[in-house]
């Protein structure tokens, strides 16, 4: 019987700098790796200290002016009901932007995520480049994209929709290529064996496997997008954000409260519906 050779785990940098202690226990040699806890604690301490300094951390202010918070919060939780009529339209705008943005972003994400999947596209360089590009798109904060869009396309919901599409594109494509790589390629192989082109084999054999995951990711991004869309108005990209900017400017916290309340209700409904649908998909 041949003996199995167990591959030694590659030594980590830490273990090379601080070699493990060798101990003799009952006649056998045991290698105990040195504890990392102390290194991590020191690093953490330094990082926290640096952060405290650079952010001008000042608990004093909180103590002194903390009561202000309650004043404001009290007003927010006392919403101005008459204000609702002014909230409706921007609210609908926000929802429309989210829907369109999510749909466009998700549709665009699919072909790109396929190119970024190592099991479908065999060209390693192409996959790597695509992934870097997708990562870069993901790193841009939505508000930054929104303000640039607002400059390019003028104020209003169009800019917001563009921003949301780009944002959705970023997160859905990453989730998708991670899912595509876990797909069972067996049926794909079978289709190629019976004379199908790669594209049709993908469509008939791989796509049905990822479709539920794809829809689930789209719904999830829609949940996130409602929240994101609500603040885009702050930079002029339409929706509730304009109202928020507005009310805060006038110190009208009761009005703000109304806006937030409607947002809360809508988010609640959408979240629950989305989670229900996502559970049915899996």
């Amino acid at each position: 019987m041949t003996r199995k050779k167990y591959k030694q785990a590659k030594p980590l940098l830490f273990d090379r700098l601080f070699p493990p202690r060798t101990m003799m226990v009952g006649g056998h040699t045991v290698q105990k790796p040195r504890s990392r806890a102390w290194l991590i604690s020191i690093v953490l301490l330094i990082v926290v200290a640096a952060s405290v300094m650079i952010t001008e951390f000042d608990i004093g202010i909180l103590i002194k002016r903390g009561h202000q918070l309650w004043v404001i919060l009290a007003k927010i939780f006392n919403p101005k009901w008459e204000y609702f009529s002014k909230v409706v339209n921007p609210l609908l705008d926000t929802i429309k932007m989210s829907v369109m943005g999510s749909v466009i972003g998700s549709l665009l994400a699919l072909p790109f995520s396929i190119i970024a999947s190592a099991n479908i596209v065999k060209n390693g360089i192409l996959v790597a480049i695509m992934r870097v590009l997708l990562n870069i798109v993901r790193t841009l904060p939505t508000l930054v994209i929104a303000s640039i869009s607002a400059l390019m396309f003028g104020l209003g919901t169009f800019a917001g929709t563009v921003a949301i599409s780009i944002f959705t594109f970023g997160i859905v494509s990453k989730m998708m290529y991670e899912s595509i790589e876990t797909v069972d390629m067996g049926a794909f192989e079978a289709m190629e064996a019976l004379g199908s082109t790669k594209f049709r084999a993908f469509w008939s054999a791989v796509f049905p496997q990822i479709l539920p995951t794809y829809l689930s990711h789209c719904l999830y991004s829609f949940e996130i997008n409602i929240r994101a869309a609500s603040i885009l108005g702050y930079v002029g990209a339409g929706g509730l954000g304009i109202l928020i900017n507005d009310r805060v400017g006038f110190r009208d916290y009761e009005g703000l409260g109304m806006v937030l309340l409607t947002l809360f209700v809508v988010v609640l409904i959408i979240d629950n519906t989305s989670q229900y649908l996502r559970r049915k998909l899996s």
Partner: protein, 272 residues
């Protein structure tokens, strides 16, 4: 005429007809999409729009190198570090504060009614966009990075406690039985039975949230809560493209680095 259909034809005739469900769904989607597309009034790319696009591309490839390499508080490195600092503290404080919240909201720890109230409370915190929180907190702390820290702490509590709660509810309590049998007191049971199960999950959550907070800290800067966001937006609005390019460049590099490390650490945590 056949009095008995052959079994194949019989099977075909009895096939489930699902096409009307699909048509319904397609119809529904078309209506929703049609309604939503009214939000897209393409006023045409504003005449300056193409300028803007060009300016940004130009800016990214010709970043203002003075800004990139300076150590002054207006420069890219300082602002990036400030942004990181805001995210670090915001995540850590939020993560710590979230612990008691999530235990109080876990149905296997406290009675259902209490859990429900606490959860509703965290849901409230989560729904108020961080931008709004920042605007509120500015009245308390004044503008600046500290406002960002406080805002992020509160907002992080929202998402982190949601994930903590999941971890807590998945706890395997059988280990408590064996610790009990070995004669441990409550503190020891928590320390050796519960904490090891939660530890890896908590850390992973915190790192995940840190990732998100870096982006968020940039956004908060726009309302004056410190970090690179404020400078970025100002330059965008005043069309100083090279400066915009510098900031974007630094921001993208920062995020790629952090993304890279956080994914690696989280993978190692998951695999152990």
């Amino acid at each position: 005429m056949q009095t008995t259909l052959n079994p194949i034809e019989a099977m075909y005739d009895n096939r489930p007809r699902r096409w009307w469900i699909y048509t319904l769904i397609v119809l529904l989607l078309t209506i929703v999409l049609g309604w939503s597309s009214t939000a897209i009034e393409f006023k045409g790319i504003a005449s300056k729009g193409a300028e803007v696009a060009y300016g940004i591309v130009y800016g990214i490839f010709h970043p203002d190198t003075n800004l990139l390499w300076t150590l002054s508080p207006d420069g890219v490195p300082y602002l990036l570090l400030q942004t990181v600092g805001i995210a670090v503290l915001g995540t850590l404080i939020g993560g710590l504060l979230a612990v008691p919240f999530s235990f109080l909201a876990a149905e296997n720890v406290v009675p259902k009614w209490l859990a429900f109230i606490v959860r509703a409370f965290t849901l409230l915190i989560r729904t108020i966009p961080s931008l709004v929180w920042a605007l509120v907190w500015i009245r308390v702390t004044g503008p600046g990075p500290f406002c960002g820290v406080v805002t992020q702490s509160i907002c992080s509590i929202g998402m982190i406690s949601k994930m903590y709660i999941n971890a807590i509810e998945d706890l395997d309590t059988k280990i408590l039985e064996s610790l009990d049998a070995a004669g441990c007191n409550t503190f020891q049971k928590i320390r050796y039975g519960i904490l090891p199960q939660l530890y890896a999950n908590f850390i992973s959550t915190i790192i995940y949230r840190f990732d998100i907070n870096i982006k968020d800290a940039t956004t908060l800067g726009i309302v004056g809560a410190g970090g690179i966001g404020a400078a970025l937006i100002q330059c965008i609005n005043s069309r100083r493209w090279s400066m915009v390019g510098a900031f974007l460049f630094g921001l993208i590099i920062l995020m790629l680095i952090i993304d890279f490390f956080s994914t690696r650490v989280r993978k190692r945590l998951a695999r152990g």
